[in-house]
Symmetry: C2
Subunit: 404 residues, 2 copies
């Protein structure tokens, strides 16, 4: 009886390839480069336990009662200060706490997208953003990228399609690991402001930089370009998360936006989950206001840098010279381009037989990308990375050879 | 620059009157019957603290890592067993964990509602359900109610409008506190199955019964009516929550539905928040599997029964005979009907001057209801209830008298 009742939009909802793969990779002998999981050995379990006890003892009722849709005010204050940079002062009223950064993507779609609206995205882009906005029946136009991120020289032409917004991950992009250069950030801001097109900045990994200099947020550049105002009034909506800094299991993210947009997002959030869990918000506030990130970020960064280095060395050792890959300066991912004609989905079937997994690149694309794949280096130990890349090299060579 | 970018659906999103009022009622000298807040003195803070320590010690990584969209499997098992009744065996695969029951309303809208689709609702009905589905541009038709709930004799005529689903709160309905009688439950199931119309059962309060006999869930009746199957295959989608049994601040609810519907809901949930926080799920599983509800439910029920009794006695003492109210057998709310022509919004302005608050009834209606209001009795102490109802009686008598 159900088929006839589903909404039109459900035809655009598909099972995530990533999530289906995650199930496979739960087999204990599989080395998985598939998920986007942080290293569990870096979870601050003991600190979370202590903070939780303190919060339940001091603020137990607030932690267990209903709370405001906007979020726990002291945490909004902390985030406002955390994301403020020179020339861009964010106030707590510009911050909405979300149930993970994924909710930021959903709410953005909810307030902006009519069926058939266009969103400009990087090619490739984060597949769960595509999924969130496909559920609002959006169409997508992709912007070519290279090792400096989105190729902004194509922007002014692409903006003629009159998109509802531009989606950009400026730092260590998921899936490619590339970073948008400063000059391109400035060009993106300049063009999008001139055309009055909102910019959705998604920055889950920006703090996890292994080398090179921190570049200003799009939020900051947008604010600098527009601010004769006392408070944030740019064209950027900026999504952030504690998932990669502390732990994803708390589902705690945020949106920074001009007040008028925050008001709309709050209305939308009321209707989807009333508010984000209070205990989680108050515990994370307890952790971050006591400076946990001052030791947590260097600790993760060192761990992931070593793993990236190992993966890059193993790739050079085991992959043939006609295969290319990115060299990210931070984050969680390396992006591999196989020779044209080689299909990463077929490769995955071979890889699974070698007990190693990755995510094929096609779902990160609007079209094409069959010869690409994403490797995660944050969730495997150094010996597993060495072993896994060697196995993957084997799987590729089997695929390259004609079947006897 | 923003106005022109918003989606059509944002015109249907409004600030919740309830939430705006909640802000007012934070003033310390205000006696509030406005919110739907559980009694914080019944929160099992110490048990939560102990369970959290145990979970972080024994299952710390699982509690802080990403988890499956469907939810923590042992909690799905527990819920399946909790909602199973004679003649209706629910399996864990029929259960999706949600970020509060509100998310159940949103996801139901997301998979079923095209713009302009019709939903049948009780009159009055839960206003946050209206808000969730207005965001999908649904239209509503209301079903008259009396002290036995939805008047099912009107159903067969109303079903000719071909609604996408029927929404029903069978137990101690928010806002009226009324309960759907067994014969009407059976009629509702019989008619909706015959017409192949899905039924969305929302039951946050069912376990909080002060007197009388527990009536079977719509889920159960639907299953009994259809089951020659081994697993749940009725026409009911049933929403539940731990918010009123343990604490709302954890944002933990569930949906029970046929497997095919669960699959659609999982796809929709992936795109909105990936999954519900893991720590919260594992801690609640720890609590409920150790039998916390066996003492928690009687404790809350006794507390709320006393408060309801006090409120009913105070109403009889301070309200004039031309005012009517419901006498709920459970839950959190009493519903008051003022004489026709008396406006509850005007009354609220008087009440605020007397430092007492409630929710006017109009937002719970599709149309009308200006002379109705909702009183919450779970969140105020017995002396506050006595005092607050006396003040409200004052405010009414001031409103009744011509201004001198």
């Amino acid at each position: 009886m159900w088929q006839e009742h589903y909404a039109q939009r459900t035809q655009r909802m598909t099972n995530s390839a990533v999530r289906e793969l995650l199930k496979f990779t739960e087999q204990p002998d599989c080395i998985s480069f598939a998920g986007g999981l942080p290293a569990p050995e870096a979870f601050p379990i003991e600190s979370v336990a202590q903070a939780t006890q303190k919060v339940l003892c001091d603020k137990g009722i607030a932690a267990l009662q209903y709370g405001p849709t906007e979020g726990y005010y002291p945490l909004r204050e902390w985030i406002a200060s955390y994301v403020s940079e020179s020339g861009s002062t964010i106030t707590p009223e510009n911050v909405l706490i979300t149930t993970g950064s994924q909710q930021g993507l959903d709410l953005t779609g909810k307030i902006f997208l009519n069926p058939g609206d266009t969103v400009l995205v990087e090619s490739p882009t984060y597949l769960a953003a595509l999924q969130a906005w496909m559920a609002y029946e959006a169409d997508f136009i992709d912007i070519p990228t290279d090792c400096d991120g989105m190729q902004t020289q194509y922007l002014s032409t692409l903006l003629e399609a009159n998109p509802k917004f531009i989606y950009c991950q400026p730092n260590f992009q998921n899936p490619q690991g590339v970073t948008l250069s400063l000059s391109r950030r400035e060009e993106l801001i300049e063009l999008s402001i001139r055309k009055s097109i909102p910019l959705v900045e998604d920055d889950p990994y920006g703090a996890l930089r292994f080398e090179g200099e921190h570049l200003p947020r799009l939020l900051t550049l947008s604010h600098r370009a527009q601010s004769s105002y006392g408070q944030y009034a740019g064209n950027s909506i900026s999504l952030g998360t504690f998932s990669k800094l502390l732990m994803p299991g708390f589902r705690l993210g945020w949106i920074v936006a001009p007040m008028e947009v925050i008001n709309r997002l709050v209305q939308a959030k009321q209707s989807v989950d009333l508010h984000t869990p209070m205990l989680n918000q108050i515990v994370v506030h307890e952790l971050v206001s006591n400076g946990i990130l001052e030791w947590q970020i260097p600790r993760i960064t060192q761990l992931y840098r070593e793993r990236r280095d190992t993966m890059l060395m193993s790739l050079a050792e085991h992959f043939s010279p006609d295969i290319r890959w990115t060299e990210p300066h931070g984050g969680l991912f390396i992006w591999v381009t196989l020779p044209i004609g080689m299909d990463a989905s077929l490769l995955l079937q071979n890889a699974v037989r070698e007990h190693v997994a990755f995510v094929p690149g096609a779902p990160f694309h609007i079209m094409g990308g069959e010869n690409t794949l994403r490797l995660n280096f944050s969730n495997a130990s150094i010996p597993m990375i060495r072993d896994g890349i060697a196995r993957l090299g084997q799987a590729i060579s089997h695929l390259s050879q004609p079947v006897s």
